[in-house]
Symmetry: C2
Subunit: 123 residues, 2 copies
DNA sequence: TGGTAGAATGTGAATGGTTCTCATTCCTAT
DNA sequence: ATAGGAATGAGAACCATTCACATTCTACCA
């Protein structure tokens, strides 16, 4: 566990904003000014493999999340912010509805639309 | 509607395999040998805007789908094939479970794991 | 405390999928 | 037939992510 890796994890644990790699870089640089983007990507990958971080792939890019409990996301189509949603009941039902032979390791649920911040704006 | 655009739509309508842009290119070239990758992307975008085609963004890349009815997908982690799943009951329940102020326009559900083709192989 | 092996870092270059530019070609409608 | 506008093909440009490599750090043990 290097200083860089700790900071990246700390940044992700401290925010609800699902930052992109660039945003993580900016935030980590506030305490470790010398960090490189390469290290951000490398460590995000390692942390992901270790199950400590999750990557959310959307049409707008990749965003990162400290893993707490599994939960679905809501992606705003206007500002592309990612919001957490409470765990839906659906997961187990879905797993049972699957055809034979499919082994599920992750359920990824994403709703799109406009968030409260954007919904109040005139288009 | 140009010949290229028709062919792209035809290719997507005729397969269940959720091809990538490159795979669409290869398939369209069987009847229109001169098509360029640029046209594939341009037309996939137009068809998407027209609601005739859907883009599925996964960690493994973007894949395309002729829109029939809304349905969730299963992505194989080993071969990255995308499979259609029957429409789950969950959608309406989910919409109701959302906090105030979120307006949903799309529900994107993706399961990951191994498909029957890969499940039988030794790792 | 010092020394060392192996892993992680920063830099910058490479990659690869997607978008853009632009000159040329194709439709459509007159 | 012909002009105007849109779509095309070719290739350059873009940009997020990954890679390569020389340097630095970390953890561990004497």
């Amino acid at each position: 566990m290097t200083r860089q890796r700790q900071q990246i994890l700390a940044v992700l644990a401290a925010t609800r904003s699902h930052p992109s790699a660039e945003e993580v870089l900016a935030e980590v640089r506030r305490t470790l000014p010398g960090v490189s983007l390469g290290s951000i990507y490398r460590n995000l990958k390692r942390l992901r493999e270790a199950g400590l971080v999750r990557e959310i792939v959307t049409a707008e890019g990749r965003r990162y999340d400290a893993v707490t409990s599994p939960h679905p996301h809501f992606v705003c189509e206007r500002c592309s912010r990612v919001y957490d949603l409470p765990e839906p009941v659906a997961a187990e039902a879905l797993r049972r509805a699957l055809p034979e032979g499919f082994a599920v390791s992750q359920i990824h649920l994403e709703l799109k639309g406009t968030c409260p911040e954007c919904g109040s704006l005139t288009s």
